[in-house]
Point group: C2
Chain length 400, copies 2
Amino acid sequence: MPVAPHIKEFMASSSFIRKMFEEGIQLKKQYGKDSVYDFSIGNPDLEPPAKVRDVLRELGSSNERGMHAYMPNAGYPETRKAMAEKVSGEQECEVPFSQVVMGCGAAGALNSVLKAILSPEQEVVVSSPFFVEYAQYVRNHGGILKTVSSQEDFSLDLEAIAAALNNKTAAVLVNSPNNPTGKIYTTSEIKGLSDLLAKHREKTGNTVMIIADEPYREIVYDGKTVSSIFPYWNDSIIVSSFAKNLSLPGERIGYTVVNPSAENASELVDAIIYTTRILGFVNAPATFQRIVAACWNEPVDYSPYEKRRTLLKKILTEAGISFANPEGAFYLFCKVPKRTNTVGEQGNDGEFCDHLKKYRILTVPGKGFGKQGWIRLSYCIAEESIARSRESFIQAGTDW
Amino acid sequence: MPVAPHIKEFMASSSFIRKMFEEGIQLKKQYGKDSVYDFSIGNPDLEPPAKVRDVLRELGSSNERGMHAYMPNAGYPETRKAMAEKVSGEQECEVPFSQVVMGCGAAGALNSVLKAILSPEQEVVVSSPFFVEYAQYVRNHGGILKTVSSQEDFSLDLEAIAAALNNKTAAVLVNSPNNPTGKIYTTSEIKGLSDLLAKHREKTGNTVMIIADEPYREIVYDGKTVSSIFPYWNDSIIVSSFAKNLSLPGERIGYTVVNPSAENASELVDAIIYTTRILGFVNAPATFQRIVAACWNEPVDYSPYEKRRTLLKKILTEAGISFANPEGAFYLFCKVPKRTNTVGEQGNDGEFCDHLKKYRILTVPGKGFGKQGWIRLSYCIAEESIARSRESFIQAGTDW
């Protein structure tokens, strides 16, 4: 029995997202790409900015030596400086480049941060629904993910968060715009969160970090913006990536920024550099460190996502499926409709996903995100594909 | 106190290699590149094959869509097929591509494997001296690295390994050519290891995996070759990378191959795909998956390493420093000489490294590799730099 029993157990209850994504690849082979409507995964279908290819070509033509060699584990100084500039703007405060550690995507960065701060059995609080992999990331490093239900409209339930804090709480994890709901937390919510952490510290002496996972920061609708965090809570860390905003998810390029005003800020940076090394990331991939240093502020037109959002909302409404209106990111979080064949019984989210799959519509159940009775649709796919899915949705809605 | 206390403690006793590498960058800025002799890290100074740049340029000119998107967590099928072809040749048996999982360097791959197989407190046995990071990789996943001294000539001490096995042993980790000694284990040693694992299984019912970490397989001298493992022990796994043979350490591209004859082989592959995902690697970087699929069998001339080995051996001999003759890789493992200023007292390896640093020679102490009284010199640096280090070595030897 070469696989560890606890890993076998985790695998059995593991992410539907990847399962659906890989099933989708098979179904497309079987039925043709155009006959499968794959809303399973956040794999952006917009192409990266043209400059990404320009820089790739330049690097391929360069005579520079050691372009693919080891660099310091934290990353190239030039790349860290570019990230510091980016995050200084977003966080409305001056961030020196020494606070930046390049990472292998936001997922890699988040694992490095959690490894650096968590002692065994410490808790990380997150508002539910939440990105399904967080539970595993926290568990990787001996911690426990403690979920707190959000408000009805998916905003933070600050009272519930306050009640969830105890002397084992290491961090509150904030994901805005949120995956799967598309909710953006307001500055007033962030201030409220900081206030309650301050009260908790006063009462217990325990400093709780805010870790903000922000890969969707740039993808927002209706003139919304994403709040800064650094000015409101010193003990805070941003992790992010270029997976979604520059459509580079396969390249595993992201970063961590520690608030320069955090308690022991430089020790914390050193610890994250160390954990990046020992977890086997070693450093963020060299070539894409160069690419994001050159391309991080390229203008990107996210209006296709807005069009797709509008189109999908229209189709779902026609199909009798209600949803939360996403303020950012590219997910529609939908309520499983009442079954038409039973007396007002609400359907199970797993069953509804299976039902939709019969119409070659691939989605993921809310259960994995901590919210039963809901499903997630990712609309970062071709508009034509969304348009073509209309009849299938309507039929599926009727037959449910 | 935002850093976990156990991480603080680990950091304090952490790798000298990176510390020296980063000190070297500072010293070179201070004294000029030519006045610092940096033998600290295995950061190959040979350039990658020209084809790497050709493929980078091609990718930059390609109109293919989704080139940087997510692919299945195991990697592109084309890349996995290329790796299967490579490893089939090396392991002298047919390896289907379904046994290959692409990883973020050998370090990433090894972490994914250990996470997949280790239950808390299980042991991984390694022959000492060993690559310094193994202890941390094993500890990341709740395991314990159990070190067993090698023979005097750094070959495996099979009796000692047999004595180290117990019902908590999950794996024996084999690194050939070895870092830091350059030792290649013979087929007869691998067979001997397999025999003792078979006896252990007979006696206890416990199957122990062999995990072979092989990033130096291609870099060998004097017509030596590296033994296969798959034909001798079914429950075996290869992890490797293109960091050393193609000089791509900064790109974090490697792979894991599970012996197709392993017990529960496909379950084990699934577990490694799963751990690659949840540890936050997600997948090996997309662009370099394409590059290694195209470049893995490009001919590389390793003769510069052979020349450097000859030159460095000559200089060390002149300086009165003895060493193990490396059969592969690019490290010279050197015995700390007796101090000339005391009555035959052997020096401490940390002190000797500090002593050499005064002559701007950067090396790393053997202590971290589990072998006090020795130091490691990495000779994957420019031949001119080795040549220029001669007087410093001789002076340092005299002054010790």
